[in-house]
Symmetry: C2
Subunit: 341 residues, 2 copies
C-alpha cells in the first residue's frame, strides 16, 4: 500500500487506520488530563477528571446511502457517539453536533436526518447543547457529513477499558453481529433485493450497559462498529496483552447476514454492528449477565469465548472454527466495507 | 432564496445560517443541563454543570485553500475551537478532533496539517484526548474537513455571554479585524499578488481572555469569525436587546485589508478574524483594559463604540460612518465570503 497518499484502507477502521493515526498523533505530548484516559488509550472515549469525571468521544459519520433500512445518517451519528461513551461505563448527558452539507441538498432530507438525530438524543434524555452547520459548494462534498460529540458522567465510578480484560474472563456479545454492515454493504453492491427484511441494528446500547453495570466483574466493553467483532476482540487482546479464544459456532449471526456475507465474499466477523456490545466479564457472573440481557429483550446475548494468559498467543485472537480447527482472527486490513460509518 | 435546497448562504455564518439552524433545531426539547448554557443560547460554547462547570464547543473546518499565509486548516481547526471556549471565560484543557480526508490526499500534507494542529494545542497545554479519522472515496470530498471539540473549565466562575452586554458598556476589539477573511477571499478570487505581506491572524485568544478576566466588569466576549465584526455585534445587540453604536473611524483595520476589501467590493466588517476578541465591558474599566492589552502586545486594541438602551433601536447595531452619517449595520446575509472557515 502507498505510503505517500491516503487510501480508503486508511479510513476503514482496521490496521492501516490505526497505523496512520499513530503516525500522525504519536508526537502528541499531552494526551490526557491527570489520571484520566486520553489519546494514548485509543479507547472508545476519553475520561477527563474535572471534579466529576467526564467521558467524551467524537466521531464523524459518512454513510452511503444516507437513508437505509433501519435508519439514516442522523440516527447513526447520534447512536454512534452515545455508544462510545456508554461502553466506557458512563451515562451520556450532553451532545454537540456539527453538520456539513453539500450545496443543493434537499432541506426536506436534512430535516428528516436532523429529526432522527434529535429523536435518538431525546429518547435518551441527552441534551443537545451546541452545534455547527456548514455548507460546502456543490461537488466539493458528497451529500453530508455529521460529526457528533457526546459527553457523559461516570456515575458510579466503574469504567470499562479495552486494556482491562482478565485471564479467565468470558467474552459476551449482546446480540447478533454484523447487521448494519451487511445492510450497507449490500446496498453499496447493488444487491438490495437480497436484503429482504434485514435492517441495520443502529440503536443506543445504553440499556445493555445499564444492565451490565448492575454487575460487579465487568472488565471491558466495546461496541463492534468499523472493523466489526474481529477488530473489537483484537483491541481487547492487544491492549490487555492476553489471548482471546472465540468459538465460531457460538457467535450469534442472523441467517440473512450469513447469506449476504457469502454472496459478497465478506467475513461477517468484520462487518459493523451499530447497536451491540462485546464484553469481557468475570466467569462467575457471565451466565447471570447473559440471562439478565435475554430477560430484557436481548434474546441473542451469548457467551462466545474466553480470555486466557497464554504467552505464545497473547495479543492475538484465536477462532475455533466450526470445522474444529483453530485460526488466528486478524485485525481487519484493507478497505473492509468502505464508508459504512 | 430557495426554501427547498441547501444553498451556500445557509452555511455562511449570517442570517440564513441562523434561520436554517433554528428551523432544524427549534424542536429540541433538552437544550441544556440544569442551569448551564445550551443550544438555546446559540453562544460560542455550552456550559455543562457537572460538579465543576464544563464549557465546550464543536466546529467543523473547511477552508479553500487549505494552506494559506499565516496558517493552514489544522492550525485553524485547533485555534477556532480553543477561541470559542476561551471567549466564554473558560480555560481550555482538552481537545478531540475528527479528520475526514479524501482518498489520494498526500500523507505529507496531512502530517503538516496535523502537526500544526498539535502544535497549537500543545502551545496552549491542551491535551488531545481523543479523535477519529475517516477517509472518503476520491471525488466524494474536496480534500479535507477537520472537526474539533475543545473542553474548558470555568475556573473563576466568570462567564461571558452574548446576552450580558449592559447599557453604558464600551465595545472593545483586541486588534485589527478582517485579516483572515481578506487573505482567504483574495486567494479564492485569484488575486494573491495583491495580498503582499498580509497574513491570516489565526491564533488563540487565550492570552487576551486571561488579561480580560483579570478585570471585574467584562460582560460579553466573542471571536468575530464567520460573519465578521458585523455578526458578532449583532449577536450582542439582539441577545442583550440593546442598541450598539460603533464609530467606523475607531475600528482598527489594516491598510492591506482595506485595499483588498475595496478591490473585492466586500465590507471589511463582515470579513472573519481568527485571533481577535470583541468585548462589551463596563465603561469604568474600558480604558484600563485597552491599556493592559496594548502593553501586552495587542497594540491595535481599541474602544470602537458603546451600548445603550434605546427602545427605538434595541436589537440593532448602528454604525456612525466616517462621512458623519448613521446606518444600520445588518447581520450579514448571502454567501459573504464562502468557506473561509
Amino acid at each position: 500500500m502507498s505510503e505517500d497518499i491516503v487510501v480508503l484502507a486508511h479510513g476503514a477502521g482496521g490496521k492501516e487506520n490505526e497505523d496512520l493515526i499513530k503516525k500522525l498523533f504519536s508526537k502528541v505530548k499531552y494526551k490526557r488530563i491527570n489520571n484520566g484516559v486520553g489519546l494514548e488509550a485509543f479507547d472508545d472515549g476519553a475520561v477527563i477528571p474535572t471534579g466529576n469525571n467526564i467521558v467524551t468521544s467524537i466521531d464523524s459519520y459518512t454513510v452511503n446511502p444516507i437513508f437505509f433500512p433501519g435508519g439514516n445518517i442522523g440516527k447513526l451519528a447520534a447512536t454512534g457517539s452515545i455508544n462510545d461513551v456508554a461502553v466506557m461505563g458512563a451515562d451520556p448527558i450532553a451532545a454537540l453536533d456539527s453538520i456539513i452539507v453539500e450545496e443543493g441538498f434537499p432541506i426536506s432530507d436534512l430535516l428528516k436526518i436532523v429529526d432522527s438525530m434529535i429523536e435518538v438524543f431525546e429518547s435518551e434524555k441527552i441534551a443537545i447543547v451546541g452545534g455547527d452547520l456548514k455548507v460546502m459548494p456543490k461537488g466539493k462534498l458528497d451529500k453530508i457529513i455529521i460529526s457528533t460529540v457526546v459527553i457523559g458522567k461516570l456515575g458510579d465510578g466503574k469504567i470499562y477499558l479495552d486494556s482491562k480484560a482478565k485471564p479467565g474472563d468470558k467474552i459476551i456479545v449482546s446480540g447478533t453481529i454484523g447487521d448494519h454492515g451487511a445492510v450497507i454493504t449490500a446496498l453499496q453492491m447493488g444487491i438490495e433485493a437480497e436484503i429482504g427484511n434485514l435492517v441495520s441494528d443502529c440503536q443506543p446500547v445504553t440499556k445493555v450497559m445499564r444492565i451490565a453495570r448492575d454487575f460487579e466483574g465487568v472488565h471491558a466493553a466495546k461496541d463492534p462498529t468499523r472493523g466489526g467483532l474481529a477488530m473489537s476482540l483484537n483491541e481487547f487482546a492487544s491492549k490487555s496483552n492476553l489471548t482471546i479464544e472465540i468459538d465460531e459456532e457460538l457467535i450469534p449471526i442472523r441467517d440473512e447476514v450469513k447469506a449476504l456475507s457469502e454472496m459478497l465474499g465478506i467475513d461477517p466477523l468484520i462487518l459493523a454492528s451499530e447497536g451491540k456490545v462485546v464484553l469481557s466479564v468475570d466467569p462467575e457472573i457471565a451466565d447471570e449477565l447473559v440471562h439478565a440481557l435475554r430477560k430484557n429483550g436481548y434474546e441473542y446475548a451469548s457467551i462466545i469465548g474466553h480470555v486466557r494468559n497464554d504467552k505464545d498467543w497473547n495479543g492475538l485472537v484465536l477462532l475455533r472454527t466450526k470445522a474444529g480447527g483453530i485460526r488466528i482472527l486478524d485485525k481487519p486490513t484493507g478497505e473492509i466495507t468502505p464508508r459504512i460509518c
